[in-house]
């Protein structure tokens, strides 16, 4: 039950960001799907591994993978789909906690939160790039035709 709620909420959040970033109207639904896929993979792997860094990597990987599939299918730039999907993974909570502890003069805790946030953003970046590179390798292997997107 919680998973269904989580899926619905991440779908809503991604569509909300699609509207803020003015995604093409017909693509809003798919933006939501990308956001949902990324968030579900992220929360499942965080539940089982307990590590936000690994989970963010997998989540970002899923986002880029699904976004790329949609981009090929609808002949639209990949960025239309990936942006809304990445937002839920951004370590806003950790950055907030870091800021809060700095204000409270608790610099040691702040640094540990900030390092974690930094690691998570690095993991998201790695996930995005890895997915893109592996898809390009896959396509190059499968056919020699020119890249269309």
């Amino acid at each position: 039950m919680t998973w269904i709620i989580q899926a619905a909420l991440s779908f809503l959040a991604a569509i909300g960001f699609g509207i803020i970033f003015n995604a093409p109207r017909k693509m809003l639904f798919y933006c939501g799907v990308v956001g949902m896929a990324g968030w579900l993979i992220y929360s499942v792997s965080e539940l089982y591994s307990g590590d936000a860094v690994k989970a963010s990597f997998l989540g970002a990987f899923a986002v880029a993978l699904v976004a790329h599939i949609f981009a090929k299918r609808f002949r639209t730039p990949m960025i239309v789909f990936s942006v809304a999907g990445i937002i839920p993974l951004v370590p806003g909570g950790m950055a907030y906690n870091a800021m809060r502890h700095i204000v409270e003069n608790d610099y040691i805790t702040a640094i540990s939160f900030a390092s974690k946030a930094f690691m998570v953003s690095g993991a998201i970046a790695m996930g995005l790039v890895f997915a893109e590179v592996s898809i390009q390798l896959l396509y190059r292997g499968r056919s020699k035709r020119r890249r269309t997107t």
Binding site: I5, Q6, L9, S10, L12, A13, I15, G16, F17, G18, I19, I20, F21, N22, A23, P24, R25, M27, W39, R75, T76, P77, I79, V80, S82, V83, I86, I87, P88, V90, G92, G93, A95, Y96, N97, M99, R100, I102, V103, E104, S121, I124, A125, L128, V129, T148
Partner: protein, 246 residues
Amino acid sequence: MSDKEMAIDCCLLAGRLMMEAGAETYRVEDTMDRMAKTQDLASIHSFVTPTGIILSPGSPHHTKLIRITNRSTDLEKIALVNGVSRKLSTGEYSLEQAYERLKEIEKANVMFPLWLQIAAAAVASGSFLMLFNGLWQDVAAAVFAGGIGFIVVTFFQELTNVKFFAEFVAALAVALTAFFAIKTGFGIELDKIIIGGVMPLVPGLLITNAVRDLMAGHFMSGLSKGAEAFLTAFAIGAGVALVLSF
């Protein structure tokens, strides 16, 4: 205007539109190169940064520079320009048609209405509160805070044109709304409400683009977009911290 000059102007216009709409640098260069190749401008070189585009079509044509002053996020515009470039390379559009279409895209306002954007920001804030294990009782406060934050950032952006100031004031407004929600008993967890309400302001697109550009070897654009993202994050953090420190 000769055909080649028009092709050069067409490339520059496409590049500027994409950059203003927040596309990745490598995609802008790729699109401009592709469009130029279809118009027999083989020795073209482009240098794209977030603040300007330099395009050298090779002799006998002059190198051109175009300035980019305001950048926003408009995914639909990116998709439209991309479509024009694709139709030009498949031969579906002639050069004149493509240039006319790009001019139409430049003038057209394809943004969603403001009320819908505000509603979207509010709903997204509420959803994020729940995704981050918030309490159901806090949803109303987060929706309210997110909506107010988005209204404030749009208003101050129009008023002052200083992005970082607008984001600072918006984060301040979100934190104040959350603070008063706690005081009046509408909310319970201050932290979660603020995190949810601040999410629509987070520079997600900038961060993704900065990393993508760095990985593609566009260090200038990557670093400058990274700096913009860092300043935005700092403005949000400072706005929230100001309220928390009382």
